[in-house]
């Protein structure tokens, strides 16, 4: 491990701030909201609401290997083991008080958007019942077509308009549209930097791995719309550009460039990184981290927010998911794909088998592997299976690969 960089230190500070500030907040000035992972936080920031993200917290729980213990606490009161492990782990934290960051401050209200799954809708219903606090659902209808329909967008925009008075009601504050616009600009700028950071992986060798981006992503998820998050991505981009200039490689001798399709296996990132590095394989990008590249048209904020928040990839048709994969394959000049068939995240992985078949039939075919896992609950993951599937995936690649230089797809 390299010594902690400037941006790295800044990130640690931000994470601390994110989890501690709500605990000390004067709730009149800074109410606390629990939110699903991709909600329009710009509205909340405009009212000085401090958002917390149970999914992000659950990812930390997973990374600190507390997933089983906390999931079991939820299971003990009747939550099925079939339910998404983020929900189980986070509910387990509510029940036991255990957490890697000393817990989440109690919410004053909840905001949920189903652009990632239907699971969060049920999860937030239960949170609303448990905490006796108001809940706003932003419904972004699933898009089965190539284009999101206009009437669906109008419906989402209509809800965004209703969100404003709802927020005024629960916070007792007046919504300032200009402030909201400023925050949306900051948010936009931050997303742009995040997109630029991710795009640096196009360089050969890539200056970082997708595993690194799973850490880099925390502020874009939790602090989007704040000057601090913006500053973090400026620092990060500078550092990474410097690395590119120096030709630094995240995986020395990078030979195979791979894509990660799915949520990380939070408790097993290091062994995976090491296994890949042994074969000089680097995960250079993922479909996951792209979820937070959210750029709005500031001249038509509500309309474009309706579109951007609806267009999250996991909320789109299989056809669009395929196109997205194909684009990434050529943009990042990739040699293969690792798919996470994740027992927790049904919407992310039902359809994976057909997605893979379609990709194989297209002129973007690259070797693929699918493994069974779970992002937080290691009881549904087998290292032995991962390792052996990875070997059978990488070995043919080694045979076809020219010894120096990259294999190009037509």
């Amino acid at each position: 491990m390299l010594k902690m960089s400037h941006a790295g230190n800044y990130l640690l500070g931000l994470t601390m701030l994110h989890y501690t500030a709500p605990k000390q907040a004067d709730r009149k000035k800074n109410p606390v909201a629990w939110c699903s992972s991709i909600v329009p936080v710009e509205f909340l920031r405009a009212l000085d609401v401090l958002p917390l993200f149970p999914e992000n917290h659950a990812a930390l729980i997973g990374a600190r290997k507390m997933g089983v213990e906390l999931a079991e606490a939820a299971e003990a009161i009747g939550y099925s083991n079939d339910i998404c492990s983020y929900a189980r782990a986070d509910i387990g934290h509510i029940l036991t008080g255990k957490s890697p960051v000393d817990g989440l401050a109690r919410p004053d209200f909840l905001v949920c958007c189903n652009n990632i799954c239907g699971t969060v809708v049920k999860w937030y219903e239960n949170l609303a019942k448990h905490f006796h606090v108001p809940l706003f659902l932003l419904d972004t209808p699933f898009n089965h077509e190539r284009e999101i329909s206009e009437h669906s967008l109008r419906y989402v925009e209509g809800q965004l308009r209703e969100f404003i008075p709802w927020l005024e009601g629960v916070t007792g504050k007046i919504f300032d549209y200009e402030r909201f616009q400023e925050i949306a600009m900051v948010s936009n700028e931050t997303s742009k930097l995040w997109r630029e950071v991710l795009a640096l992986a196009k360089h050969k060798p890539a200056p970082f791995t997708a595993f690194d981006t799973f850490n880099y992503m925390a502020p874009i998820v939790t602090m989007r719309g704040t000057p601090e998050a913006l500053e973090y991505y400026r620092l990060l981009l500078d550092e990474l550009l410097q690395k590119v200039k120096e030709g630094a490689a995240a995986v020395p001798g990078e030979k195979y460039r791979l894509l990660w399709n799915g949520i990380p296996v939070w408790y097993s990132m290091r062994p995976m990184l090491q296994l890949l590095a042994k074969y000089r394989a680097n995960l250079v990008c993922s479909t996951y981290t792209n979820g937070w590249v959210l750029e709005f048209d500031t001249d038509n904020l509500l309309g474009s927010m309706a579109r951007v928040y609806s267009a999250i990839m996991i909320n789109q048709s299989l056809g669009l998911k395929l196109t997205n994969l194909q684009k990434m394959l050529s943009n990042f000049d990739l040699d293969g794909i690792i798919h996470h068939s994740n027992r927790s995240c049904k919407p992310y992985c039902f359809g994976l088998y057909d997605l893979s078949r379609q990709l194989q039939a297209s002129n973007h075919a690259v070797p693929e592997m699918i493994f069974d896992g779970d992002q937080t609950d290691p009881r549904h993951f087998s290292w032995a299976q991962f390792e052996s599937r990875f070997q059978s995936f990488i070995e043919p690649l080694m045979l076809t690969q020219s010894p120096n230089g990259y294999r190009r797809q037509s």
Partner: protein, 378 residues
């Protein structure tokens, strides 16, 4: 009358031959719909036969190549039936946005059967929103147009009004049947009750209505089993596998009310005939619930189940859980806590459509009924 009952039971036992028969007889189109809510009136008004595609007991052979084993058994069975040709007599398919399982299965379906007509009925989940009304009106208008193209028949307001009448009558008749089940549980065996409801999901409704209205007076005086030892409320997606109902009969337990998706949930909320159409269908959809698959921040299911227990003088509740159905699985801990607090005994039974071994289910039901018999928990 016995023969009328038998004919309904046959339809439920072998729906595809009944559906094929209808198709041959009328030359009409068959429209299959997945769980849970579909405005069947519009399908009916387009001259098509709406049939429910809620899976069933079939060995999963082909579907495993497309759907992971942690998809619920309903969508796995639907895909299996699709792949093995059971649905060949179905001309069009409706996939509602009930849950992530169905939503994603719809896309898998589209890639497997690109040429079979399909309509994605993506409902507004935020029914509190004013914008939902406009959205839903448009959705039903799109559905109507799709059906017109499929059947080549116009959905006139006259036809729609007629269909609404038929469906309201159907709901009223089933309400009568449900009332009978509570007043005179001896009149029908558990499986018979389940099969009558199921048959209604494959028969043209005017025809079904005729059968059921003939049957009801006769059933009042029928007695097929002794008075129950325990009166039960059943909540969940569906009462399958049906052996469970036979086991309950044997053990002396009677379902006197249900909160099943394939049951009371789809039969609630008659259309308000005084409203203009199709706005009245929109209005009905906005009034449906409580249901695990319809967003409800108040979590009204607990109160509803308790209300059923009181209204039907039930001794306990069975939560029949379709494994991997997260919508239901999230409701369970909340309901469990509420019923515990109210002192209402609750049994959690986990099922899959494909399960064959009933031994464990029998043991658990037996133990539960013994507890109820001793009056524990009250």
């Amino acid at each position: 009358m016995e023969s009328v009952l038998q004919s309904l039971l046959e339809v439920a036992a072998n729906p595809s031959s009944e559906v094929s028969r209808w198709r041959q007889r009328t030359g009409g189109k068959v429209v299959g719909w997945l769980p849970i809510y579909v405005p069947e009136e519009i399908i009916h008004a387009a001259g098509a036969l709406p049939v429910s595609l809620w899976g069933g007991r079939t060995e999963i052979v082909r579907a495993d190549a497309h759907l992971q084993g942690f998809a619920c058994s309903v969508v796995r069975a639907v895909l299996e039936y699709g792949l093995k040709g059971t649905y060949n007599m179905v001309d069009g398919f409706i996939f509602p946005s009930t849950c992530d399982h169905i939503q994603n299965t719809s896309d898998i379906w589209a890639s497997l059967f690109p040429d079979r007509p399909k309509f994605d009925l993506v409902y507004p989940a935020n029914r509190q929103s004013k914008a939902a009304v406009v959205y839903l009106e448009q959705l039903f208008a799109d559905l109507e147009q799709w059906l017109e193209e499929l059947t080549g028949q116009k959905v006139t307001s006259e036809k729609l009004r007629e269909s609404v009448k038929i469906y309201n009558c159907y709901r009223a008749l089933l309400a009568d049947l449900f009332s009978l089940r509570s007043r005179k549980p001896e009149s029908l065996s558990g499986p018979e009750m389940g099969q009558i409801v199921k048959s209604s999901l494959f028969l043209e409704k005017a025809e079904f209505n005729r059968h059921l209205s003939d049957l009801l007076p006769w059933l009042e005086h029928r007695k097929v089993k002794p008075a129950p030892k325990a009166r039960l409320v059943l909540t969940g997606i569906m009462a399958e596998p049906q052996e469970i109902l036979a086991i309950l009969d044997e053990l002396g337990g009677a379902i006197v009310a249900d909160d099943l998706a394939l049951g009371a949930r789809i039969l609630r909320a008659p259309v308000r005939e005084e409203l203009p159409l199709p706005a009245a269908l929109v209005d009905r959809h906005l009034r449906l619930g409580p249901c695990s698959t319809l967003y409800d921040w108040r979590k009204g299911r607990g109160a509803h189940v308790q209300h059923l227990v009181a209204e039907h003088a039930a001794d306990g509740v069975i939560f029949i859980n379709m494994k991997f159905c997260e919508a239901e699985e999230f409701d369970y801990p909340v309901l469990k806590a509420e019923l515990e607090e109210a002192g209402i005994p609750l049994l959690f039974l986990e099922v899959e459509q494909q399960m064959a071994a009933m031994g464990q289910i029998r043991t658990r039901l037996q133990a539960f009924l013994e507890v109820l018999g001793k009056g524990a928990g009250s």
